[in-house]
């Protein structure tokens, strides 16, 4: 009996080993959960960062900027400008350009350079083939033309065999349509 006990004792695991196994198993679970949580956090934080960046690029969420921060922190002055404010900036630059190209400014620039208004009596006229004269402003393309199918070719000359088959199947199925509800009844 004693021998059996000794053998059992010899082949059984020590309590600290069992404890270690439990701890390792527990740690494995913890590490796995932490790993999954870490990946989840990383992905969600990236998504949140990108989402915030998108929002920052669209509009300024809080509507206004703090003057004290803008003055102290140079970074805030060169931060991402939302699209809405960028449009304001573009309109502003276009306005500035127009001021710099205004009739008064252009005249002030031209006169010191020796330009004078043309004198009709000194003008010499000649034909320049193809010259259309000063063109009217074209700031955008004209409206897209309404697509009108003007093709005159018969379908037989435009369809592939598969198109033709599909068309025929469609025609046949359509011819059945009115009949089906009656049959169902």
């Amino acid at each position: 009996m004693e021998q059996v006990k000794q053998i059992t004792q010899a082949y059984s695991q020590t309590p600290w080993r069992k404890q270690l196994q439990v701890i390792v198993a527990f740690l494995l679970v913890v590490v796995s959960v932490a790993l999954v949580a870490g990946i989840y956090l990383r992905v969600t934080s990236q998504a949140a960062t990108l989402g915030r960046q998108i929002q920052d690029m669209q509009i300024r969420m809080d509507g206004s900027q703090r003057l004290d921060l803008a003055a102290q922190d140079e970074v805030t002055l060169i931060e991402v400008v939302p699209i809405e404010e960028m449009r304001i900036q573009i309109a502003d630059l276009q306005g500035q350009l127009a001021f710099n190209l205004s009739a008064t400014v252009m005249r002030e620039k031209a006169e010191p350079m020796g330009f004078v208004p043309s004198n009709p009596e000194e003008m010499i006229y000649f034909k320049v083939p193809g010259y259309q004269g000063k063109q009217l402003a074209r700031l955008a393309p004209p409206p897209a033309p309404v697509a009108v199918n003007t093709t005159v070719l018969a379908p037989a000359y435009r369809e592939s065999l598969i198109d033709w088959l599909a068309h025929q199947v469609n025609l046949v199925s359509r011819s059945w349509l009115p009949v089906w509800p009656q049959e169902v009844k």
Partner: protein, 611 residues
Amino acid sequence: MSTSKSNGDGEGYNGDGSIKNGWRFKLLAMLFSVVACLIVAQIIRIQLGSEADELRKFGKLYAKALHVYYPQRGAIYDRYGNMLAGSRRVYEVAVDLNLVRNPETIAFSLSKVLANHIGYDSSSYYDHVYRVANGVEITTTNYIVVADYVSEDELKQLSDWALRYANAPYRQDKKEVPPSLRGLVYRPRLQRVYPEGELASPILGFVNWEGVGIYGVEEKLDELLSGEPQTFWVSVDPYQAGQLPQVADGVDLILTIDREMQAVVERILDEALVSSGSEAGTIVVMNPENGEILAMASTPRINLNKFWEYKDVLNSSTPLNRAVSVDYEPGSVFKILTMAAGLDSGAVDLDTIFVDTGQIEIGGIWIHNWNYGAWGPQTMLGCMQHSLNVCLTHVAKELGTERFYMYMQNFGLGHMTGIDIAGEAPGRLKLPGDNDWYESDLGTNSFGQGITVTPVQMLMAISAVANDGKMVSPHILQSLVDNGRQFTPARSVVGTPISAETAHNLTDMLATSLEEEASDALIPGYRVAGKTGTAEIATPEGYTSSMTNASFAGWGPVEDPKILVYVWLEKPTSSPWGSVVAAPVFRDVYKEVARLTNLMPDDVRASLNGQ
């Protein structure tokens, strides 16, 4: 060796292998479990408890931010794409009361930087911000606008002040609040600007502080230009970031006017006012083939970038655009229409001889010529050349009341032309049957008295004579750009009051008239047609010859008119006569317009076309 250890009877273990003091671990585990259960229970309670709905509502308040999108006001360009009205970035400066630390500092900085800013009132700041920040007054909003339309320079100055305060040394031990501009916030926005300043101001009008178009195209087409402000909620949750609603900006407009021509015509008008001593003036240049207004000068003009000063220039009875908004008795220039009607109807023809006795009776009154003289036998050419009131009254009598007024209505008189400029006056064409119409009106109307018209109405009516009988509608809008596409409305003829033959005959007659008269309107190299007008101004005491309206309507080249010019000078003092003060203005304008439009002299054009 380690039997005892392996048996678990070492220091940390009991004899049976269990952990010594294990109850402590169990107690700790239970404690943690209880805490975890409590946390879960609390979570469930918050989610399902009585205050859950209230908390959700509270959360929703912060889940989204209200955003108001103000569409950009459309720009205005001239026919060649030069910007006439655009936008400039300015700032709205406000105080966020939640952030304010030192209201005195903010007040001081604002009063220094914005002392001369239009619309900034430092006392208002003290009323609305200072008192609230110091708890004297309670407000329902934390965002108080203190100045609007603050320029880039002004904002930079405020920013410098903020930086200076931030870097200023102050003693930490003192209990007083350090100087700071914390709480001062700003947001960019757009303000209307006019790169050309005064140029074309009567056409353009302006946009006031409230963003509403006043006068001119800005008022007439305000809805198109301004677009509709849109309000929408934006989720602050970054996971819900998505496409914002697409909001259309205002429509860009391309006008028919030419910036260079407008500048030249305005200069000529200003010079004419000085040389003639006129009180006010108007010059309009139109293409008679399609009704495009190429230039429209009128006085007074205002610097649109300082529109708030307009009340110094315009009083309640002074319109900004006299070409559109002021109707007047045009005088002899109106004879063009009477003669057109007479020739077209067959009441008279080119060879008709009228014996002018110096007076004619109609409706119980006697009509006389401008010099009270009798001109004897006159052809219709002579009647127009000498501008004989008696002859034109005869023509109107030959036409008859019904036909005369039918023609005048067909010329569009008495109705607005529909030009794209705000404040158009309809003029007045009294018709038989009206309470204030008398038979004598047929006579006076025939030479432009007792009838009121605007310069654009006259242009529209005369375009029929200059354009093969086809009358066109004067317009200032050439194209509009909306959603990245440029739309050009089709313009059509609005009527054919006279035949092409009548138009040609009358044009030729009026060209010959100018040539035989050696008029100041003649231009070397160009054959033009036209007619002067000198109208006495009606006063409560009757017509006075001391004050006149001097006009001239002319067009050319006679073979194929491309330019129609209308000149109106009010109360000239150097001479009352249109032939003296208005005709030379037409000549100067025509010369410049021909130069700017590359309109070749008649002989050059004929020789080049013959090549």
